[in-house]
Amino acid sequence: MTQHQGNTLSWEIRDGALELALHHPPANEIGLAMLTELEMFIRALAVAESRCGAVIIHSRQPSGFSAGADLRELYVKALPLTPARRTAGVREFLERIHAVLNALDASPLTTIAAVHGVVFGGGFELALACDLIVADKMARFCFPELRLGLVPGFGGIPRLKRDVGNAIVRDLLLTGRSINAAKALGTGLVSQVASEGEALRLARAAAAQIAKFDRTTSAAAKRFLKPIPREELRQEIDVFCDLFVRPTVMEGLRKFFESTDAHPYLP
C-alpha cells in the first residue's frame, strides 16, 4: 500500500515523503468515491509511518486543490429519501469523513497541504487538518456553506478556530467570502506563499527539512502543539445535521444542482 493509483486520488512515497495527489475532475469534489479512497489512504498512512517523515497532499487538477463536498451527488442521493433518512445518510458520511480527517490530524507524521486555485468548503477543511499549508499565490480559501443554509461539516470551524483568531473565522463563515493566499498568510492560516505553480516544490523542500528531525521528537511536538478539538468536532456534526433537515437546504441544493449561474462556486 505504499503506492496506489486510484480513480479520484493516488499516492506514492517519494524522497521519504508520502505524497497524496487528488485528481478527481472537475475540481476534486469530495463525494463517496473520494471518501472511500481517502479511507484507503488513511490505512496506507498508518503502514507508511515507519518509512516516511512527512505527508504532502496536493492536487493535479488545474482548477485547484478542491471545491469541497460533491453537492450534486449529495442532492441526487438525498432527493428520493425522507428527511429522516437524508439526515441519517448525511450523518453517516460526516462520521466517515471526520474519521479520515481526525486520523490525518493525529498522524505522527508532519502533514503538509500544498494548495492552489480553489480551496473551498470541504477542500479547505482537508487542508486545515494538515499541520502546514503551503499556498500558491493564486489560491483562494472560502467557506461558502451558509449560501446553502448550512455550516461547514468536515471539521472546518473547530480547526479554523484552533489556527486563527475568532474574528477572521466569523468573517469567513458569516460573509462566505473568499480570501487570497496573501490574506491567508497574514492571518496565520498558511505558512508559506509560493509563486504560481511552485507550491508542491516548496512543500517538498519543507518535507525534506522535516525528514532530518527525529521522528519521535516531531510527533511529541505535534501532539503538544496541535490538540484535536474532538468535542467541538462532534458538536459540529450535530449542528450540521440539525440544519440539514430543514427544507431550505434541499431548496438550496436544488438551485445549485440546476443552476446555470456563472458563479456556482461563489457565495
Binding site: G117, V118, M138, R140, G176, H263
Partner: protein, 80 residues
C-alpha cells in the same frame, strides 16, 4: 490616486494579458465572461489577479452580478 479611466485601462490590460485576448478587442462595457470566454473559476482567478495588481481585497459579494469591466473598475476604485 488613479482615475476611474486609469483603473479601467489597467483591468483591461491585465485581462488581455492573462486570458490571451488582444487588448484592442476589449472595451469597458464588455461582458467579461463573454469577451474573455471564462467560467466561474476563471473569474475567481481574475479576481485574485486584480487583488494582487491593485494591492486590495475585493470580497466576492461586491462583484457578484457584475459582468462588465467598467462596473468592476468602480468596485476596485472604491478600495484604492
Amino acid at each position: 490616486m488613479k482615475t476611474l479611466e486609469q483603473t479601467t485601462e489597467e483591468i483591461l490590460a491585465l485581462a488581455a494579458l492573462h486570458f490571451k485576448v488582444p487588448r484592442e478587442q476589449l472595451s469597458p462595457a464588455d461582458d467579461f465572461y463573454r469577451t474573455l470566454k471564462i467560467d466561474s473559476l476563471q473569474a475567481l482567478e481574475l479576481l485574485t489577479r486584480l487583488e494582487h495588481h491593485f494591492g486590495i481585497e475585493l470580497p466576492d459579494y461586491e462583484v457578484q452580478g457584475v459582468a462588465d469591466f467598467r462596473t468592476l473598475a468602480t468596485r476596485i476604485q472604491a478600495r484604492l
